[in-house]
């Protein structure tokens, strides 16, 4: 039976999105800037899970930004899954952390100022490229345990 995989982080459109793309397509650092919806202000504002793709086993892969307290949000999400599907493994949640995620948070806020948008997004991409191995390592551990 296929299930839903949800990568969460402080903001969904940065490190969780890279994690999802690496999980699905094994992307390389130079491809980060071309990932659809990377740094999207409207997607993050929406606050709902975003479907990124479907893996080879038919599992749907989503991302979600949950704000500054990722541990708290993960706990709520896991409990909600247990309330609705106590017997099934219907949803796999994986928290993705990255170094400098609070800088990403700040850059995302600053990117709302139109003339800073491109500068902030370039800086965010550079930060994510630096942390690429750290992000992929978390996905690899998730894959190993999956």
């Amino acid at each position: 039976m296929s299930m839903n995989i949800l990568f969460i982080g402080t903001q969904g459109v940065y490190h969780p999105l890279i994690a999802a793309q690496w999980y699905l397509h094994s992307i390389i650092p130079s491809q980060i800037k071309d990932i659809p919806f990377l740094g999207s202000l409207s997607i993050e504002e929406h606050g709902q899970p975003l479907l990124v793709g479907i893996d080879e086993w038919g599992n749907k892969v989503y991302i979600l930004g949950v704000g500054y307290d990722v541990t708290m949000a993960e706990k709520s999400i896991q409990q909600l899954a247990e309330i609705f599907h106590p017997a099934d493994e219907y949803l796999a949640v994986q928290t993705i952390r990255t170094r400098g995620e609070y800088w990403l948070f700040l850059l995302h806020r600053l990117a709302r100022i139109p003339f800073l948008l491109e500068f902030c997004q370039r800086l965010a991409v550079a930060l994510l490229q630096l942390n690429f191995d750290f992000i992929c390592g978390q996905v690899q551990r998730f894959k190993n345990n999956f």
């Binding site: 709902q48 708290m72 709520s76 899954a81």
Partner: protein
């Protein structure tokens, strides 16, 4: 349906609203300090309870009522909860209710002293006083939720 009343700590306004919803507190009069103190989870939560969805009971329409403390996440938590419920195939089976707009300064200050600073003998009377002041606002919130549930049940 799963109804989740949520506020900053999941300790005062959400507990009171859930108790009103479940008939643990009468709607027509302000509860005494003792009645509030006797509510499950009222002013009894700790740091580890943030994010924990705690069961309060079943209402007259057979809905499960829960409470949750989500810090200062605001309405974003509504989006997270409904979004995740949709992933679980239950998009119409959840109703998150944010109680924060009914939290007054007495509740904030009293709650901070009692829960964060752990000085209960000082903070608890202040938060109870604040809850009593906010009580009819919380009743109004619950009545809106119940009106919606009646509408859904028809």
């Amino acid at each position: 349906m799963v109804i989740i009343y949520h506020c900053f700590g999941g300790s005062h306004s959400s507990v009171t609203a859930a108790a009103i919803h479940l008939g643990m507190l009468r709607k027509d009069r302000i509860p005494s300090a003792r009645e509030l103190n006797e509510l499950p989870y009222y002013d009894k939560t700790s740091e580890a309870d943030f994010g924990t969805i705690r069961y309060m009971g079943k209402d007259e329409w057979d809905n499960d009522v829960y409470i949750l403390g989500k810090k200062s996440m605001g309405d974003r938590y509504n989006a997270i909860l409904t979004g995740v419920a949709a992933l679980l195939g239950q998009s119409t089976a959840i109703l998150p209710v944010n109680c924060m707009s009914h939290v007054n300064w007495s509740m904030k200050i009293g709650g901070f002293i009692s829960r964060r600073l752990q000085i209960e003998f000082l903070g608890r009377p202040i938060v109870i006083w604040g809850t009593q002041k906010a009580f009819y606002h919380l009743v109004k919130l619950v009545e809106e939720v119940q009106a919606y549930l009646r509408h859904v049940a028809v």
